[in-house]
């Protein structure tokens, strides 16, 4: 076979393959795990006929993959579970602005990028949880109180390697400055009941087991335990109270899961449609009911489980700040000895 013949052969196969995948589709790189997004994506395909292809992985790895794939990256939409990573994607220059009046109207300004490169889709708060049998909610009020020596040996919190702790630190840096936040982190480390370990649910379990009185965790973890198939988890979660911090001033620390469109997207229209779909009624209710998150919209009711935690005042800080202060937060945690 001559070189030309081989070349023609390869070319025709390639064209054939490209032909197969050129039906209406959208390629999603998701830091949100498949279980927590797949059924919403399936619904999108049903409604629009647009096929959704999915890869899940941590946000940083996906951002790196998109950067390396460059112009030819198949990615159309990036989904993350944290605002800091959306900011990082924007900084990396891989996102494109979406000019959509639908998205602007539905999503409050604090929960989207000022330049419309990313959009928050669901909300969660990182709160102080307490063992109801040993702590009265009047004993603690603000995040700042976690550094109070009266809680010595009574706080369970996971590693500062976790993004949610980094985002909490980033918001404190914004509100109180780096120096005060470092002093706070030193106080928090001194109050820890144990070396940071495990996940958020482990902190909740440790509080009920008596290792600590307070646990720091995201709201949906407690809600997930309340709705669990496992009786022991439900029993533990029933003993935990939720304290909404800083209700007298700025409000509780919020974070979003969100989405952005990739700059090199070849399916930009489909990508926009998908992000709009995720902000529409069906998906927003789905986030609330199935994942126990708060809607970014004010007109979507909370799930029954979340209603048990009550109404609260949310911090209105623009979440871009969480990304901007992320590296500073990690350095500060390193200095404070927060493993």
């Amino acid at each position: 076979m001559g070189i030309k013949k081989i070349f023609a052969y390869v070319l025709s196969i390639t064209i054939f393959m490209v032909g197969i995948v050129s039906a209406a589709e959208v390629n999603v790189y998701s830091a949100r795990s498949e279980d927590l997004i797949k059924s919403a994506l399936d619904r999108f395909s049903e409604e629009t006929g647009i096929e959704v292809n999915l890869i899940t992985e941590s946000a940083d790895a996906l951002i790196r993959r998109i950067e390396l794939e460059g112009f030819n990256s198949p990615a159309d939409v990036l989904l993350t579970v944290d605002a800091g990573r959306l900011f990082r994607a924007k900084e990396a220059g891989i996102l494109a602005s979406i000019d959509s009046s639908i998205l602007r109207e539905r999503i409050p300004a604090a929960y989207r990028d000022p330049e419309n490169q990313w959009f928050g889709l669901s909300l969660r708060s990182r709160v102080i949880m307490f063992d109801k049998s040993r702590v009265s909610p009047s004993e603690i009020e603000n995040y700042e109180d976690l550094a109070d020596p009266k809680w010595k040996g009574e706080i369970c919190i996971r590693s500062s390697g976790n993004i949610y702790n980094q985002s909490l630190l980033a918001s404190l840096i914004e509100h109180a400055g780096e120096e005060a936040t470092e002093a706070w982190a030193v106080g928090l480390v001194a109050n820890m009941a144990r070396r940071p370990q495990g996940g958020d649910r482990d902190q909740i379990r440790a509080a009920v087991a008596g290792q600590c009185k307070l646990a720091i965790a995201n709201t949906y973890y407690l809600a997930g335990m309340l709705n669990s198939d496992i009786a022991a988890d439900v029993e533990v979660a029933e003993q935990i109270g939720v304290l909404w911090p800083n209700q007298g001033d700025r409000g509780a620390h919020m974070n979003v899961s969100g989405a952005g469109m990739i700059k090199t997207s070849k399916n930009a229209d489909e990508a926009r449609q998908l992000i709009e779909f995720l902000s529409a009624d069906y998906a927003q209710q789905w986030y609330a009911e199935v994942n126990n998150e708060y809607s970014v919209r004010t007109d979507i009711p909370m799930s029954a489980t979340l209603q048990r935690f009550g109404e609260f005042k949310a911090d209105s800080l623009n979440l871009e700040v969480l990304g901007r202060n992320n590296a500073a937060a990690v350095r500060l945690a390193d200095r404070a000895g927060w493993e």
Binding site: L11, T14, I15, V18, N27, S33, E34, D35, N53, L54, I55, T56, E57, S58, D60, A61, R64, R65, L68, E69, G70, F71, N72, S73, P74, R88, R158, S159, G161, I163, Q166, R194, R195, P196, Q197, G198, G199, D200, R201, D202, R205, A206, V208, A209, G210, Q211, Y221, G224, D229, I230, A232, V236, N326, A327, A329, V330, R331, D334, R335, E339
Partner: protein, 546 residues
């Protein structure tokens, strides 16, 4: 240069590109991050990693060497069962065993909760070992990695000529002192190979140490990348890690050179197994039973309990697809790894040069790199190549080829090879060094061609090693997570990914179903492996027959 050594070096260079990508990071500036690391966390990363390596060394030697000796040199009821059962923990991914033991032994787990309820204690009024600690991590990693030491030690003991042991005993050695004075020193090179595999696995582990909150080199690489946002400094940390591993690999190959033993007697037969009776039997059961029950049976029971609670919601129709993907990748990769390892090993044997052994040493570094680092190291050159081809095609033919290799199963298998070829190379090498050059010469003097020598002399002797290489890689691929996560094509899941996603959402009970399937799928090759070793044992491993 001849084509074989030339292609050997070319192959090594291609497979080593991810390692070069990591190493090249040292030429880029990382700003003030190193000052920060140095002042704050670097000492802890290093000391924890060292402590972990020392602890795991002690652990795997204790759990692996003695049982290997007991099942080869002694005979007792059940010793045949232990012979293969001791391999079973290989089937359990390290992070899975960490999750299961934490589920049981944690302060909020059933054991401590029941203790508190039964005795009316509250937390702090009693002592209980902390599972999520450095000691806990050492225990977890030792329990799943010791089979490497066991496997190599057992092969070495089984290959020792009975005449050596008889000589030892005729000089007044008891079976026990013959172990310490003859068998153990003879087996040392093999044990060191097993140990170095364990240590590389330890350095590459992320899941366990991350979950236990132990800051090591590996967690430090991730933290520097994700938290401090510096790809360069993260890669430099990985390069530093590679420096340590290179020292480790050099020590290992030096130690192997220091201790090259051949059985030289013309009469060679397996040493007769000594029966164990009475009180010693109890000790034998303890020594062989502890690794199997703690490393396999207990986690298996816990996983089964969890899986039985959640099976309805988890065992969906997609499940067969995950299993199929996992098995296919494992089969393709292990076959490719075996062929490449044979190619490299024979190349080095036929044309031994400094360059080819240096190339082999560089290749072996991949095993100690955390999977994500390997994955990015693979993606960098492939994406670059794809984009260059695409740009050329657009300019020349106005036709965009897109990403030809990135995002396909091909680069996934490539990444697996970077990571797991070393284990195949090590095992094949170990088999090949048992064949003395004089045996080839003898064959040739009898007028046999090279292919006939390969088939009639080498293959029977090597069969055990080849099966070991194939199946170790197979099981490793089944368990592999980080590279699969980053490099897989769209809509492509494996059992390991499914397990990880559920566990990562802190739904351990839901993760038990896929985790159990990984364990069961790995069981088949592990059992095949011990069968094939059983058969290979009939052939005197040194090759001489009276």
């Amino acid at each position: 240069m001849r084509p074989w050594p030339l292609s050997l070096i070319a192959l090594s260079l291609i497979l080593a590109t991810p390692i070069f990508v990591v190493l090249s990071s040292v030429f880029f500036p990382a700003g003030d991050i190193w000052t920060h690391l140095f002042e704050t966390v670097l000492a802890r990363y290093i000391s924890n990693s060292f402590a972990l390596m020392i602890g795991v060394s002690i652990g795997v030697l204790a759990l692996g060497v003695l049982p290997a000796w007991l099942v080869t040199a002694y005979r007792f009821p059940g010793s045949k069962v232990f012979e293969w059962a001791l391999l079973l923990p290989l089937a359990i991914p390290a992070y899975i065993i960490a999750y299961t033991y934490t589920g049981m032994l944690d302060v909020a787990g059933p054991l401590q909760s029941n203790l508190r309820d039964a005795f009316g204690w509250s937390y702090g009024e009693y002592w209980f070992p902390e599972i999520r600690s450095l000691g806990g991590a050492i225990a977890m990693l030792s329990l799943v990695f010791y089979p490497y030491v066991y496997l190599l030690a057992r092969a070495a003991f089984a290959g020792q000529s009975g005449s050596v042991m008889e000589a030892a005993r005729s000089l007044g050695c008891s079976q026990r002192s013959a172990f310490f004075r003859v068998a153990l020193p003879l087996a040392r090179p093999a044990i060191v190979v097993g140990l170095s595999i364990c240590l590389m696995e330890t350095l590459a582990d992320y899941g366990t140490v991350q979950y236990f909150g132990i800051s090591t080199f590996t967690t430090g690489i991730y933290r520097t990348w994700n938290g401090l946002g510096s790809t360069v400094a993260a890669a430099q940390l990985a390069a530093l890690l590679l420096g340590f591993v290179f020292i480790l690999v050099s020590i290992e190959s030096w130690s192997r050179k220091q201790a090259q033993f051949f059985n030289t007697g013309s009469h060679s037969w397996p040493s007769p197994a000594v029966p164990i009776v009475g009180g010693r039997l109890f000790i034998a059961y303890l020594v062989c039973g502890i690794p199997v029950s703690l490393g396999f049976v207990v986690p298996l029971i816990q996983l089964s309990i969890w899986a039985s609670i959640t099976s309805d919601s988890i065992m969906t129709a997609d499940f067969a697809g995950y299993l199929f993907n996992s098995l296919t990748l494992a089969a393709i990769t292990s076959a490719a790894a075996l062929i490449l390892a044979l190619f490299i090993a024979y190349g080095r044997r036929l044309y031994p040069t400094q360059l080819s052994s240096a190339a082999a040493r560089v290749l072996s570094l991949g095993y100690a790199l955390p999977g994500t680092v390997v994955a990015i190291g693979v993606l960098v050159p492939f994406a670059w190549l794809d984009n260059r081809v695409s740009a050329f095609m657009v300019a020349r033919f106005d036709f965009n080829t897109g990403l030809l290799l990135s995002g396909t199963a091909f680069i996934l298998v490539f990444a697996y090879l970077v990571r797991f070829l070393p284990i195949a190379m090590n095992t094949v090498d170990a088999g090949l060094t048992k064949i003395r050059p004089s045996m080839d010469e003898a064959g040739r003097s009898m007028g046999l061609g090279p292919m006939t020598i390969l088939r009639r002399v080498h293959m029977p002797i090597m069969r055990g090693s080849l099966a070991t290489a194939l199946l170790l890689v197979f099981v490793d691929v089944l368990k592999e997570l980080p590279a699969t996560l980053l490099l897989r094509p769209f809509n492509f899941n494996t059992l390991a990914i499914r397990t990880y996603e559920l566990a990562n959402e802190e739904r351990l009970a839901d993760a038990a179903g896929p985790a159990l399937t990984i364990v069961l799928a790995s069981l088949i090759p592990v059992i095949l492996l011990s069968r094939s070793l059983e058969r290979a044992k009939d052939v005197p491993s040194v090759g001489e027959k009276p």
